[in-house]
């Protein structure tokens, strides 16, 4: 391979796939360190079957010279440990893609890979077992070949491996290093010479970045915002928040509890919140269903709480490991009775951190429930983002009072609806907190005048914070006649699709709303200024479009772009859908 014909990598999409427990994630991790070391922006995802162990598993990795929030259109590199991996990744392979295939069980299946793709068939597993006595070493073998493809210096690849396996017993680390060198030998046999592969990595200008998943960013944001109590029940794809906070909260004098179910989780959080401790719970759709009574209660009894919904495919048990955005109706309209609530929707880890902070403060200020809604992709996929601004975090306790002078009424009707709040333990601040309708003192009341006044008082609280609700993130061509709107995981594909459509002569103006409820004026204004607005969402009913329409978006202006097969959009797919819909519209 001459230097001239070498491709310099500006956007590399990789899938490493095999049977679960194959260690296929190891190569992805090594690659991610390699690309990170070169300054690439990254996006990483896992594609797993909804089961405990085994089943087909794939690690997806994208490294790009510019920020990326989703996987690209095609795979450039497919590392396939079995035929199923070819079947899974093959159709997605770029015509000039490269396949590294473990041929221990035979050649790759016919008719799937593009004819122009380059395939390196090497019996990794057989060789690993023969020479190194363990199947698992095939990953280090494979990485040797991958490093040669990317023209990575042999010594640099060895360093990377040594760092990765530093925590292992020396003999295991040494065996992995031998495996890597065996990988180099196979590469030599296939004319992949050291530092002279078909592709070469660039050095991208590097600034400090974090590689973090949404769930981790939410947990960190809650902690930094003074969150000190978390209760949750294990559920995919929200469990990382529970495990993260179980590990970290005690270091800060906080408590994280694994409850016996979601009913308990939300009520524990309400109990903690009652003492003034900032409290959160996190779950997915099935858990949100169970928590509806708790959210309604928080709205009635006026207790601050943050509830995270990491949405997965529904209804019912659905597809636990697959993303969807089909809980929006439940979040906005669920729970019995009328009560004020806020629904925030982060679109990437930066949003997750910022909106977790915002949600924690907003809950205190309205003394009520705030939802933070993401989807499986935002929750679990990791991407590179600028370091979170810790110094910009402020803590607002709203109407909490440290002393009581004179008369104290927990549910005092105030101009803004927010009642001064004396926490249990405050002398003279004794109160009756209840989900029954009550008078200002907290005594149960069914008096008609009091009832109406109390409903109004609670609803007024939203106005206190309306001006501080997170604004949407605009993108694309602001003055374009065509608009696009989407939340959560749609952010990445929308950004790229809009760029491409603009390049092809179709300017589009985009908005990623970050407050869903109350629907901000900004969202409505955006829709009103456009001829057509494509609403991109992962559900079958167009729940986001209905939500925007419900507050007065002009009839017929919203065009839902729906998907509910459990797979995220790739930018080209989205661009094509919009181009086709636009052709029909004109």
């Amino acid at each position: 391979m001459t230097l001239e014909t070498r491709r310099r990598i500006t956007d590399l999409n990789v899938m490493v796939a095999g049977q679960g427990g194959d260690g296929s994630l190891t190569i992805a991790t090594l690659l991610s360190r390699l690309l990170g070391g070169h300054g690439y922006h990254m996006y990483t995802a896992r594609n797993v079957a909804s089961r405990i162990k085994g089943g087909h598993a794939a690690a997806l990795l994208r490294g790009a010279a510019t920020p990326c929030r989703c996987m690209g259109d095609h795979l450039d590199l497919l590392v396939a440990f079995d035929a199923e991996a070819i079947e899974m990744g093959g159709p997605w392979l770029s015509p000039d893609g490269i396949v590294v295939f473990d041929s221990s069980a035979g050649p790759p299946p016919d008719g799937i890979l593009p004819e122009t793709a380059r395939v390196y068939s090497i019996p990794f597993a057989r060789l690993a077992v023969r020479d190194l006595r363990r199947d698992l070493f095939k990953n280090s073998l494979g990485f040797g070949v991958v490093a040669r493809i990317l023209s990575v210096d042999d010594a640099a690849a060895a360093d990377l491996l040594a760092t990765r396996f530093a925590h292992l017993r020396p003999e295991v680390a040494a065996a992995n290093l031998r495996a890597l060198h065996a990988g180099f030998s196979f590469a030599d046999e296939h004319q992949l010479r050291a530092g002279l592969g078909p592709w070469a990595l660039d050095r991208i200008e590097h600034r400090d970045r974090l590689l973090i998943a949404g769930n981790e960013a939410i947990a960190l944001g809650f902690l930094v915002a003074g969150g000190r109590f978390f209760a949750g029940y294990p559920i995919t794809p929200a469990s990382e928040i529970l495990t993260w906070l179980e590990r970290r909260l005690p270091e800060f004098g906080g408590v994280a509890v694994q409850a016996e179910d979601e009913l308990s989780a939300i009520n524990m959080a309400l109990g903690a919140a009652l003492t003034g401790t900032r409290a959160m719970t996190a779950t997915s759709g099935p858990g949100i269903s169970l928590m509806q009574e708790g959210v309604s209660h928080a709205g009635s009894a006026e207790i601050p709480i943050v509830v995270v919904d990491c949405q997965r495919s529904g209804p019912s048990t659905g597809m636990p490991t697959k993303p969807e955005q089909s809980d929006l109706n439940m979040l906005v309209h669920g729970g019995n009775g009328d009560f004020p609530r806020i629904v925030l929707a982060p679109g990437d880890p930066s949003d997750c951190f910022d909106l977790a902070v915002a949600a924690t403060n907003l809950a205190q200020r309205i003394q009520g429930p705030v939802y933070l809604v993401v989807d499986q992709a935002v929750a679990q996929d990791a991407t590179t983002v600028p370091p979170f601004d810790l110094d910009g975090v402020t803590i607002d306790d709203g109407a909490v009072i440290a002393h009581v002078d004179g008369e104290y009424r927990r549910y005092a009707i105030t101009d803004d609806g927010v009642s001064p709040w004396a926490l249990p333990g405050t002398p003279h601040g004794m109160s009756l907190v209840t989900g029954n309708e009550r008078n200002e003192w907290g005594h149960v009341s069914t008096d008609a005048i009091n009832r109406a006044a109390m409903v109004d008082k609670r609803m007024r609280k939203i106005d206190v914070v309306r001006g501080d609700l997170p604004t949407g993130r605009p993108f694309g061509e602001p003055d374009a006649a065509i608009g696009i709107v989407g939340i959560g995981m749609e952010r990445g594909p929308m950004l790229e699709a809009v760029d491409r459509l603009a390049a092809a002569g179709m300017p589009i103006s985009g908005l990623q709303p970050r407050t869903l409820w109350p629907v901000p004026e900004e969202t409505l204004r955006f829709v009103r200024a456009k001829e057509r607005v494509y609403v991109v969402e992962h559900n079958a009913e167009g729940q986001l479009a209905h939500l925007i329409a419900s507050v007065g978006a002009p009839h017929g202006r919203l065009r839902p772009v729906l998907r509910y097969d459990g797979a995220p959009f790739r930018p080209a797919e989205l661009a094509t859908r919009i181009r086709e819909m636009e052709r029909e519209a004109v």
Binding site: G271, G425, G442
Partner: protein, 275 residues
């Protein structure tokens, strides 16, 4: 002059067992010299779920069946508060029984008082799980509690036997106040309107406090005794099990780091993700 809500007059029918329970809790709080602002009484839904309105402490009216997780959250978040959870048999043994099992097993130091009257009084007399039905014996939560080794204080009172009831509640409050663990006190508290069982229960109860053969520190014996009594249509009342070996836990000093230390710790956590 500072004022807050005025404790309510009970909504219960004259003769309701719950009066005795309220009196016992009030006396217990007085005996321990607890200031009302350091006490929170949480109650479920039902006739019993109004007791928190009558005591002058901080009060909380939980969702139906959820008083135990809520009380657990309060206790975990603020260990300085004296936490009393209260409710009825419908609240605790039907809709909330899943939480009861885990509260017994989690063993957090707070008191749970169940006013058991065998029926749903507030909704006008439907059967609860503690009402015998077609010859099927009622659910026995004391037996259930005895089967879960984590809980070290299990008692049953009878609303009419006020001296004993007062003693049991005070003992339970001292037990939780010393941070020994979860205290479970069931009170047989008849409903004079829908299930007046005063006479029937009084005739059938066996006072274990007066029984020289009952050793409240012997859990297996207490469990066996309860089973034998039940097979004869009777129930043990009194201090059924008390783990006296369990030592008081000293109050934990809040170990939250100071502001500067906290900022450094946040930064360290964030920078773990640096690439």
């Amino acid at each position: 002059m500072t004022t807050t809500y005025r404790p309510a007059d009970p909504i219960w029918c004259a003769g309701c067992g719950h009066f005795g329970v309220q009196a016992a809790i009030a006396r217990g709080l007085q005996a321990l010299e607890l200031a009302p602002h350091d006490v929170i009484v949480l109650a479920g839904i039902g006739c019993s779920g109004t007791i928190q309105n009558n005591l002058g402490t901080y009060g909380y009216h939980a969702l139906h069946g959820r008083v135990l997780p809520t009380a657990a959250g309060v206790r975990l978040a603020n260990p300085d508060l004296t936490v009393i959870a209260a409710g009825g048999d419908g609240d605790g043994y039907a809709i909330g029984v899943g939480h009861l099992v885990h509260a017994l097993n989690r063993d957090l130091p707070f008191l749970y008082v169940v006013m058991n009257n065998g029926i749903y009084g507030l909704t006008k007399g439907q059967d609860s799980p503690t009402k015998p039905h077609d010859g099927r014996p009622p659910l026995d939560a004391v037996d259930l509690a005895l089967s879960i080794p984590a809980t070290g204080f299990i008692a049953r009172g009878f609303a009419r036997w006020s001296d004993q009831l007062n003693r049991l509640i005070e003992q339970a409050l001292r037990y939780t106040g010393d941070r020994r663990g979860f205290a479970f006190v069931e009170v047989l508290s008849p409903c004079v309107t829908y299930n007046d069982t005063y006479a029937e229960w009084e005739a059938s109860l066996h006072d274990v406090d007066a029984d020289p053969n009952h050793d409240p520190t012997d859990r297996p014996a207490a469990h066996a005794r309860s089973a034998v009594l039940r097979s004869r249509g009777s129930s043990p009342v009194g201090l059924i099990y008390h783990d006296q070996d369990r030592s008081a836990t000293p109050a934990v000093e809040q170990s939250a780091p100071a502001a500067e230390e906290r900022r450094t710790a946040y930064r360290t956590l964030r920078d773990r993700y640096a690439v």
